[in-house]
């Protein structure tokens, strides 16, 4: 556990702090963070991640996923007394990189989320606005399925080079 925390801190401190880094780096960092949360929540936290082929080199904002994932856990999954799922899905849609973070909520969750959750989400929105101006989409809220979902669409600036392994 302490070693995991060390890994995560090292990753956030060592990174060359540009605005963007590769999706692969962001995913590794997010998984490091999730490992700590898994140690804390154990069986109550189920994580499902899916990434479309050929996206690992795509540039994404540094630490864009971690606050969304933390938000999903703190204000959603950690408040449940039964197992809940966090879904992180990253797809390519024409020239867009589509990121979706969805999580189960506690039974009978109130309509209005705590203000802390709103601040975290709003910060991500502000950052995207600064980085991409009008060239992005950002939405957060409860879906028709009752889960909380954050959707982001970013310009896929770099045609990801084919680094698929020949099988």
């Amino acid at each position: 556990m302490i070693a995991q925390l060390g890994d995560f801190l090292r990753a956030t401190l060592d990174a060359a702090h540009g605005h963007e880094h590769a999706l692969a780096d962001e995913l590794a960092l997010t998984q490091g963070y999730l490992e700590i949360e898994k140690a804390r929540l154990g069986n109550r936290l189920a994580v499902r991640m899916k990434v479309d082929p050929g996206l690992l080199n795509a540039p994404v904002p540094f630490l864009i996923l971690q606050p969304l994932v933390e938000n999903a856990i703190r204000h959603g999954l950690a408040l449940r007394d039964t197992r809940g799922a966090l879904d992180l899905v990253i797809t390519r849609e024409s020239a867009r990189l589509q990121i979706s973070v969805a999580n189960d909520l506690p039974a009978g969750a109130a309509e209005l989320e705590p203000s802390g959750a709103r601040i975290g989400i709003a910060n991500v929105g502000t950052r995207l606005e600064r980085l991409y101006g009008a060239d992005h989409a950002f939405a957060a809220g409860r879906g028709a399925d009752g889960r909380f979902q954050v959707s982001i669409a970013l310009p896929l600036t770099q045609a990801a080079p084919p680094d698929r392994m020949a099988a």
């Binding site: 060592d14 590769a22 692969a24």
Partner: protein, 248 residues
């Protein structure tokens, strides 16, 4: 019997290593040193077989201690550090392994096993213990509700640590196995399954993409789209297995 010295300027760090060694058979701690200078004198006078050596000590760095010893007197060395930048120089001095602080128990055990093998080789004994290997696991017995179900190893895409248990990911479903990942790792056919992280084992033919990260770890993407981290400790084994898989 392997004679061991522990060198670290921080008393707490030394006692952490000593506590981990206490339970290990065949290990005799013969000395502790709190600075590079006294370590150099002590190691020169009475060379141990193995040192646990802190890199970041004041005045004389751990690596300078190794470099100052004549190559013939240099003990096997496992370096302790909170940073990783020194690695190239350390390996030029034949350091066996390095452990990042805070020390992970499982990595500590691996480093010590590496030292035991190197020690045996140095003294002309047989390398790895040569006992007949148990057959590899072909199926997993898992519980689904109140039933027991057999999952074929060939259907498993990857295995994830889940506390003291492990989760099999097979055909889009997940199954809990009541066995720690570390023990499973030793029971699976290494031609098909490779440990890539302290928390993950992957089936080699499921690896679709591999991308190196700046810290020399890597991120894998499996055929089903699942991203899995691979730590640098396991990368060589993984790339070797991927190479074999492609030749086959």
């Amino acid at each position: 019997m392997m004679r061991v010295a522990v060198i670290d300027d921080e008393p707490l760090a030394r006692s952490g290593v000593l506590a981990r060694l206490r339970g290990c058979a065949g290990i005799e701690v013969v000395a502790q040193y709190a600075d590079g200078g006294s370590a150099l004198r002590g190691l020169g006078a009475d060379p141990p077989d193995l040192v646990f050596l802190d890199v970041d000590m004041p005045v004389m760095h751990g690596i300078d201690v190794l470099a100052a010893l004549a190559p013939a007197l240099r003990p096997l060395a496992i370096l302790l550090t909170a940073h990783e930048q020194f690695a190239v120089r350390a390996f030029a001095l034949n350091a066996l392994d390095y452990l990042l602080k805070p020390i992970d128990d499982e990595r500590f055990a691996e480093a010590l096993a590496r030292a035991r093998n190197a020690h045996r080789l140095r003294h002309g004994g047989p390398g790895l213990a040569t006992c007949a290997p148990a057959p590899f696991l072909r199926t997993f017995m898992v519980r689904v509700g109140s039933r027991s179900v057999l999952v074929d190893a060939g259907d498993v895409a990857w295995i994830e640590a889940d506390g003291d248990y492990a989760t099999l990911h097979a055909g889009g479903r997940q199954y809990l196995v009541r066995e720690p990942l570390q023990r499973l790792a030793g029971r699976l056919d290494p031609a098909s399954f490779v440990r890539v992280h302290r928390s993950a084992i992957v089936r080699v033919d499921q690896v679709a993409e591999l991308r190196a990260l700046p810290n020399r770890d890597a991120l894998l993407c499996l055929r089903d789209g699942t991203p899995v981290r691979a730590s640098r400790t396991y990368i060589d084994t993984l790339t070797a297995a991927l190479g074999h898989a492609r030749e086959a």
